[in-house]
């Protein structure tokens, strides 16, 4: 009897401890109003329904999920405002790209379009390993089509993409319409009048030293349609956003752009803070870099373009700036294009030191253009006429490009070494990292995808400011001389006294003589 009592007691004890433990489990947590019993029940039910793999390893995650799942049961009576997601915004912007105008739809197929063959270029760029991704390329080309239609451009192509710190630029190159003129006005004429007014006020006092600084003469811009401004460039941040036309570039901007090194931010109105100070904001700097990159890296297979009709003598010094598509171009085999750089030529004019493609002689003053006298006389009269700057003529092969920083300026490769009969020849610039050109058969294309900075070798050193100018011309009244020493002063004084004494004697003698005469 005792034994059964004991087991009963023990069983009861166990039941009691179990009940108290269960009560403990059911006790709600003070913080979250949950209790462990319910939580464990739900967790085990979840494991039962889901049968996860390696359940013991992921049990903590499941526990956290169960806890998290409880919170969504509370529904607030407020409805969330439907927020336009970024996807919707982008879709709105880009749906205009996908709409077709109702009229000209059928006519376009017959007339030669100003757009290049979009899908073909995209495919070839992919082969070359350079592309931006198919979806983006398609959108970009649709945006180009929109640009062409809205601006009625005769010809347009994708120039490339310039990366920036906050957003990027997609750049399109276009031929400008005929008859378009530059609408910008120079603001250089205003300050001179102010200086003259200030000078008249100071004439009462001693004339203050005037500044003899004359700024060097401004090199004139090239006309739209020639030289550096041959093409017009449009940029947008993303396909679908409106295109912005970049202003034409001036030689001063190119000269300074060569001396500074800056990233782009993605906003066209950012000021460029640099030394030497850049005359313009980011839009101008972007245009200047585009001009430099085009001049340095736009290449084509030799023979694709031929020189325009030559006018006059061949001794004409102005470099030819026109070229035409050669109708007899046969295409160069791709393997040959890869092996030697002489099969590629530049088809954009080189930019001279001055910042233009055609040299301008700034020292010629109006009124002295007396070319009627013999040429030999003219040369003698102007001994310091600067030498005209000459650049390599158009359509020079790449094999004549200078080597910089111990590295060849271009690297070439085939897109595929295994199927070379269908491969694309790819040329990569080492001076402007990001500039590529490909050629296959009779087609070629250039593109730039990069940060917009040139390879600068070991390090970039910003230019040193010029020496401070002399504030005043050195003359006798300003130059310091040594003060006379005491002995010298005494000597001078004695000499003066002697002179005075001598003079007085002479005067006395004269007076005496006069008195004597009077007598």
């Amino acid at each position: 009897m005792d034994a059964s009592n004991e087991t009963q007691d023990r069983r009861q004890q166990r039941m009691q401890s179990a009940a108290s433990f269960k009560a403990f489990l059911l006790k709600n947590s003070t913080e979250s109003n949950l209790n462990l019993y319910d939580h464990l029940t739900q967790l085990l039910m979840k494991v039962m329904t889901e049968h996860p793999h390696n359940a013991v390893d992921v049990i903590e995650d499941m526990s956290r999920d169960v806890k998290r799942g409880l919170f969504h049961d509370m529904q607030s009576t407020l409805r969330d405002l439907p927020q336009t997601t970024a996807a919707e915004l982008l879709a709105e912007q880009q749906c205009s790209l996908f709409s077709r105008p109702e009229d000209a739809a059928q006519e376009e197929e017959l007339v030669e379009t100003p757009l290049p063959n979009v899908s073909e270029i995209g495919f070839n760029l992919e082969q070359a390993g350079v592309s931006l991704g198919r979806e983006e390329m398609q959108r970009i080309f649709l945006a180009l089509k929109q640009l062409v239609e809205s601006q009625a451009l005769p010809r347009c192509r994708l120039w490339g993409k310039i990366l920036g710190t906050q957003s990027n630029y997609i750049v399109a190159e276009a031929e400008c319409r005929e008859g378009e003129e530059d609408e910008e006005q120079s603001a250089d004429e205003a300050p001179e009048d102010e200086d003259r007014e200030a000078e008249t006020q100071e004439s009462e006092m001693d004339p203050l030293p005037e500044s003899t600084y004359k700024p060097p003469p401004v090199v004139p811009k090239e006309i739209i349609g020639t030289g550096v401004n041959k093409f017009v460039y449009y940029v947008c941040n993303e396909p679908g956003l409106p295109w912005v036309k970049l202003p034409s570039v001036s030689p001063a901007q190119i000269v300074v752009a060569r001396q500074i090194r800056k990233f782009f931010t993605g906003r066209l109105d950012t000021p460029i803070v640099s030394y030497p100070p850049f005359p313009g904001n980011e839009a101008n700097y972007l245009r200047a870099q585009i001009a430099r990159i085009s001049a340095g890296t736009q290449v084509s297979p030799q023979g694709f373009y031929q020189a325009g009709e030559e006018e006059g003598d061949e001794e004409d010094e102005t470099p030819r700036d026109s070229y035409e598509v050669n109708p007899d171009f046969e295409g160069i085999p791709v393997t040959e294009m890869v092996e030697s750089l002489s099969f590629w030529v530049h088809h954009v004019q080189h930019i001279l030191q001055q910042g233009r493609c055609t040299w301008v002689n700034l020292t010629v003053k109006p009124g002295e253009e007396s070319y009627e006298e013999g040429e030999s006389d003219e040369k003698e009269e102007e001994p310091d006429e600067p030498e005209p700057e000459v650049g390599p003529p158009l359509l020079t092969p790449l094999s004549q490009d200078a080597e910089m920083f111990n590295s060849p300026p271009w690297s070439s490769k085939l897109s595929s070494a295994l199927t070379s009969q269908h491969a694309v020849a790819v040329l990569r610039s080492n001076l402007w990292p990001g500039a590529y050109a490909y050629a296959t058969g009779k087609k070629f294309e250039n593109i730039y995808i990069g940060w917009g900075v040139k390879y600068a070798g070991e390090g970039y050193i910003p230019s040193v400011p010029p020496l401070p100018q002399k504030e005043y011309p050195s003359g006798a009244d300003i130059t310091e001389t040594l003060d006379p020493t005491l002995e010298e002063e005494q000597m001078l004084q004695e000499a003066l006294e002697e002179q005075q004494a001598a003079q007085e004697e002479m005067e006395e003698e004269e007076e005496e003589e006069e008195e004597e005469d009077d007598d």
Binding site: A86, F263, P433, W451
Partner: protein
């Protein structure tokens, strides 16, 4: 060693041959021949910094030479014996460069790795990605390397997650470019210090990764360019 085993890098070099690297220090040039790169050590790093200049050549057995003159001698006449020739092979330089890039600009989103109480760094399997607004801020991305100056910034930090340094503490400020493309479906970070390092993350998903495609030179002009 990070999650991205098998992530492919590529270094573009001078001549036709480009390098392709996989994160376990293997290199090759045309995806056909693979060599094992030696792991970078401190002595190798100092060797490379003395000898190698300019761009990569493209040939792993190329030897860089640079004469360094011993300046401790005060005489004008420098005896020939104290002119050191620092020689470094290109594969050493390559491995050191890879190591440096990893140390300086490898990026992971916040929350993708957890450190447990023993100090082990583990992949966080319940990482569901950053939200869209978080992925626009540089604060949500961390360097994936041993923290050199860990800072406690706010009480909200979770020590299991915030044991790495934040990208926004990088000097100079602005050396990262954050962009959200494709309707915020992808968030792209580009390093301006090592031009060509690109990190991507798809907000809302645990996918992330980084790739280096460039010429293997550090952009020391960065302060001038910002």
């Amino acid at each position: 060693v990070p999650l991205q085993r098998g992530s492919i890098w590529s270094l573009q070099v001078l001549l036709e041959q480009d390098f392709w690297l996989i994160i376990e220090e293997i290199s090759d040039f045309n995806c056909m021949d693979w060599l094992l790169l030696p792991a970078a050590t401190d002595s190798m790093i100092s060797e490379v910094s003395k000898a190698a200049r300019g761009r990569f050549i493209g040939d792993p057995s190329f030897v860089y030479e640079r004469a360094e003159v011993n300046r401790k001698s005060e005489d004008r006449v420098i005896p020939a014996a104290s002119v050191f020739q620092n020689k470094v092979k290109e594969e050493t330089r390559l491995s050191v460069t890879v190591h440096q890039i990893d140390q300086e600009v490898s990026v992971v989103p916040r929350g993708s790795f957890i450190r447990n109480h023993q100090g082990l760094v583990l992949v966080n399997r319940s990482f569901t990605g950053l939200s869209e607004s978080e992925s626009r801020k540089l604060d949500s991305f961390l360097h994936f390397r041993e923290a050199k100056n860990p800072k406690q910034r706010s009480v909200l930090q979770n020590p299991a997650v915030d044991f790495l340094e934040v990208l926004s503490d990088d000097i100079p400020k602005g050396s990262w470019s954050v962009q959200c493309e494709f309707a915020s479906r992808v968030c792209v970070l580009r390093s301006l210090l090592w031009l060509g390092l690109t990190f991507y993350h798809l907000p809302g998903t645990p996918q992330h990764g980084y790739v280096y495609m460039g010429d293997g030179t550090k952009n020391l002009d960065l302060p001038f360019m910002l």
